[in-house]
Amino acid sequence: MDYALQQLVNGLTLGMIYGLIALGYTMVYGIIGMINFAHGDVFMIGAFVSLISFLLLGAGGITAVPIALVLVLAIAMCFTALYGFAVERIAYRPLRGSFRLAPLISAIGMSIFLQNFVQVSQGARVKPLEPVVRGGFVLHQEASFSVSISIMQIIIILTTLVVLAVFTLVVSRTPLGRAMRACEQDQRMAKLLGIDVDRTISLTFVLGAALAAVAGMMYLLYYGVIDFFIGFVAGVKAFTAAVLGGIGSLPGAVLGGLLIGLIETFWSAYFSVQYKDVAAFSILVLTLVFMPSGLLGRNDVEKV
């Protein structure tokens, strides 16, 4: 029982990180109907920028942990936002209006480019970071086994929940959110109402990329090691999470992330670590067979 509880804590943490990345996939898919395969790599860049920022801040003498965390997060978000903006401008916007596969191929190209760029400029070796946030609480103690939650895990879970709440509010209540939903439902009509569709799409990429930076920093702090390839693996998982939750749905992305995180963790704990990805993707296949639009996705049949 205690062992299961511990796995629950670990799975939730991992799931939150997947959920944060999945939000970016789902937002972009919602608005332009394409899978931004470079998103996972933007997450990886977020992790690298965080690592470099931590090292620079440490060298500069800023060692108070809360201040460092906030600063690093802000820096990483700014950088990835720029990347998100540039990726959309360079690789996707010129292809808008061309056939459906074109931006998808361009996205894969962008993903490979970003991976190689980081590999060449930062080296292929795994980069470690000393633990920044230490400590934790023991939830339950028994003779042979104790259930604990680290402060880092608490930070990850709380941050994701806060970010999700803020984004839900932005999308449902603000003019920007309305414009995003309008572009998602009918771009032509959005234009006829004076909405700058290109700008709205740009902002969607920027917001998604900023979320990826949050996830990147969390990943770095949680695992303590990163390399140029983490974006691919985490990206595929997060994409799966977005599809599982119902692509286009924000709560769906987080729910999907949590499920993938939990399935992976529990499978590793009780069956075999080697087959954890098989387990996660099998659940995806089953869900799509029986619920083609995902758990919280809408089916597109509408009264016209």
Binding site: P175, R178, A182, K191, L192, L193, G194, I195, V304
Partner: protein, 246 residues
């Protein structure tokens, strides 16, 4: 903003040609709409009426010709900027945002005003179409056809337009609802002086409502005149009215 010429037309389309690829949809079209006028454009399915409406809004941009609105040539300008100059369109097929509530759809209409006097304008459009008031929290996609049409017009009005482009507001609606919508347009024009360009297949209603009309055939204007004149023309009666009366 330039002060509008008091005597000149609010909208003046001249020599406009629009094409989709190699298919020419509009050929050398010219029409004028004076301030405070209701002008209707009638024509058969596929004549190019909606293309003209969309060309005025810059999507697609015309291949040739000028579109002068309020003294400035807007041909070739991006659509979202044209719509910020006081033109609003209730488009063909209504294009209500299906997964937004009625209230959100109306907010989208007011987006160009950045929320200024939203409550006041909401009051006005719901007075014009009381049905919408009961449906404010309902999703756009769940409304009936007539309600969607009312919402499309109300949404267009939320931007306080000087020129309202109405594309086929009667399409697929019951005769009683059509009368209701047309009388709302007439009231608006009489009480606020709103200028309207109305595209219709329902020529009988449209010509009775409008001050002037144009007939569009295969992408070219073939006739123009006052509503009463056009209604009396035998070729108009034969082509658009006989049997087509709502």
């Amino acid at each position: 903003m330039t002060a509008s010429a008091t005597s000149g037309p609010l909208l003046s389309v001249a020599g406009v040609t629009t094409a989709y690829g190699s298919i020419v949809a509009l050929r050398d079209v010219a029409l004028e709409v004076m301030p405070g006028e209701i002008v209707t454009l009638i024509g058969a399915n596929g004549a190019g009426k909606s293309t003209l409406m969309m060309t005025i809004c810059g999507s697609p941009a015309p291949r040739a010709g000028s579109i002068v609105y309020d003294g400035e040539d807007i041909a070739g300008a991006p659509t979202h900027l044209i719509m910020r100059r006081g033109i609003a369109q209730s488009p063909e097929g209504r294009r209500i945002f299906p997964r937004m509530t009625v209230l959100e759809n109306l907010r989208m209409g007011a987006e160009v005003l950045a929320g200024a006097h939203f409550e006041e304008d909401l009051e006005k459009v719901t007075a014009l179409f009381p049905r919408l008031k009961e449906r404010l929290t309902q999703r756009g996609g769940t409304l009936s056809g007539g309600e969607q049409q009312m919402l499309a017009i109300a949404r267009a009005l939320m931007s306080r337009p000087r020129l309202l482009l109405l594309d086929e507001p009667s399409l697929g609606l019951a005769p009683m609802v059509v009368r209701q919508i047309f009388s709302a347009i007439r009231d608006l024009n009489r009480t606020t002086g709103l200028t309207v360009l109305l595209v219709e297949q329902n020529a009988f209603h449209a010509l009775r409502l409008a001050h002037r009309g144009y007939v569009l055939v295969n992408g070219s204007i073939t006739m123009s005149g006052t509503g009463a004149e056009l209604l009396a023309r035998p070729e108009v009666r034969a082509a658009y009215l006989e049997g087509g009366r709502a």
